[in-house]
């Protein structure tokens, strides 16, 4: 593994995006716009919005980074750049971590914008403060990137890659506690939710919303999210094979 090559890969990925200003604009504008829409959807019950807005902040980076990473890696595969890289003196982790760092950074910037809008313009009260909110969102971005790198190995086409979003992420969204408190769900779904990483991202942001101090649950949540992310990255370096 080489730090130089890992960071060169992050820089390269970010530079690719910088040549695509529309994608960058959407990354930063879509989440705050969606949050604003949600605020007015819950116009009659503002308390509900205050509860779910921070959780949404944990799901946006996960969903978006998952999608961009899946498509990005699939493009590397189909264009031949991955073939080329895999014959070069690099470690697969240089490639994977390069992506993870680039998109976590992007997730960080996205969270910065979204949480600023949420707290200062939409008036959502987050007991744990802005910094903790961003930490929660960045961990979700990292997880989304790792999952995207992993699953893209199984996609043969862009159509399949895009479908992995509803297949892998939607079920997690449904049962993560965003729609209804998890203890109100059928028991088997609660069990399922307990082993899904997004549950812990969302729980982390719930902890941050309700507690002004750092809780042990929050520590557990973040450890789970980051550990699953690292685990999936390692799995991904197995699924992205040098020899096919």
């Amino acid at each position: 593994m080489s730090v130089t090559k890992t960071f060169a890969t992050s820089r390269r990925v970010l530079r690719q995006l910088s040549h695509d200003p529309r994608t960058v604009a959407m990354l930063f504008i879509v989440p705050p716009v969606l949050l604003t829409i949600m605020k007015y959807v819950f116009d009659g019950v503002p308390k509900v919005f205050d509860g779910i807005a921070p959780m949404l902040l944990g799901t946006f980076p996960m969903v978006m980074m998952f999608l961009i990473t899946s498509i990005g890696t699939l493009r590397e595969r189909t264009s031949g750049t991955l073939d080329r890289l895999m014959t070069m003196p690099i470690s697969k982790l240089d490639f994977m971590l390069g992506y993870a760092i680039a998109f976590s950074l992007l997730g960080f910037l996205q969270a910065l914008v979204s949480s600023f809008v949420m707290i200062h313009f939409l008036g959502v009260d987050v007991a744990g403060g802005e910094l903790a909110t961003i930490v929660g969102a960045v961990s979700a971005a990292f997880l989304g990137t790792a999952l995207g790198l992993f699953t893209s190995a199984f996609a043969r086409s862009e159509f399949q890659a895009v479908q992995f979003m509803p297949a892998f992420i939607f079920p997690q969204l449904l049962i993560c506690g965003l729609f209804i408190a998890r203890d109100q769900m059928a028991q088997p779904l609660q069990w399922l939710a307990n082993v899904m990483p997004l549950t812990y991202s969302v729980d982390a942001l719930q902890q941050i919303t309700h507690h002004s101090s750092w809780t042990s649950d929050l520590t557990r949540d973040l450890i789970v999210v980051v550990a699953v992310g690292i685990g999936v990255l390692i799995l991904g370096s197995v699924t992205i094979r040098r020899q096919e």
């Binding site: 080489s2 130089t4 090559k5 060169a8 890969t9 820089r11 390269r12 530079r15 690719q16 040549h19 695509d20 189909t78 264009s79 031949g80 750049t81 073939d83 080329r84 890289l85 895999m86 014959t87 070069m88 003196p89 690099i90 240089d94 040098r242 020899q243 096919e244």
Partner: protein
């Protein structure tokens, strides 16, 4: 003659049933332009992928400079230009080259000089700051080739490097190839075009996953009593059937 690549009883089966390569054995010399010639679908790309270590071998072995194909030690001695674009369309020419030079492990201080040098070799200096996606097909091809030149590898494996290029450009690339082999670089070039074959020093004719001949262009024409490689190919295929 010194051997660069030693292929012994190589067979590759793709997707569990398609026999892409069938029992190929051949020794390829150092410092020559070796052409893998055959119709599309003959197995050229599979053979190339096997040599660069991207393809798992079903049977047999490949040794490159005495090391098994895919060895870690080979990775900074060879380069691979795939049939696809294999550069990033949403980066500029220079950004692509800098990135790949870094990944090839070139020292940071030398990267600028290396980038300038390889761009010069493919005559793309004036397009250094253009986005690859805005270039013409032939220009993209040359950018991709320039990446393969980084670090002056001992072995360059080029899958259809001159496909779709105009004759003038193709001629200038062959001049570059000849310069490289004169310096001792071993060049592996695949092509489905028979007139390309005339320019190689050494030819490997492939059809239907099988090696049908390995010889110099002149010898091939002598043996088959033909005037062009295309005729030799047809005559060899006719003998087989």
């Amino acid at each position: 003659m010194e051997t660069a690549i030693k292929i012994k009883n190589l067979s590759v089966t793709l997707d569990g049933s398609f026999r892409a390569l069938k029992d190929i054995s051949v020794d390829l010399p150092v410092g020559q332009a070796i052409g893998f010639i055959g119709p599309s679908g003959a197995g050229k790309t599979t053979l190339i992928r096997s040599i660069v270590g991207r393809q798992r071998l079903t049977a047999g072995s490949i040794e490159i400079f005495g090391l098994p194909a895919g060895s870690v030690q080979l990775r900074n001695q060879m380069s691979y230009m795939t049939q696809g674009l294999s550069v990033y369309p949403d980066l500029t020419v220079k950004e692509n080259l800098k990135y790949f030079a870094t990944m090839m492990g070139q020292p940071k201080k030398q990267i600028k000089a290396i980038v300038d040098e390889v761009l010069e070799s493919v005559d793309m200096t004036d397009k250094a700051d253009a986005l690859v996606s805005n270039l013409s097909g032939g220009q993209k091809q040359r950018v991709s080739l320039s990446v393969a030149l980084i670090g002056s590898p001992k072995l360059m494996v080029l899958d259809e490097p001159t496909i779709g290029l105009d004759p003038v450009l193709r001629d200038s690339l062959w001049k570059l190839f000849n310069k490289l082999t004169a310096k001792g670089t071993t060049l592996l070039v695949s092509s489905h075009s028979m007139d390309e074959a005339e320019r190689c020093d050494d030819l490997v004719l492939i059809r239907d996953g099988r090696l049908i001949a390995h010889n110099t262009p002149d010898e091939l024409k002598n043996i088959t009593g033909t005037k062009t490689i295309e005729e030799s190919f047809l005559s060899l295929v006719g003998d087989e059937e």
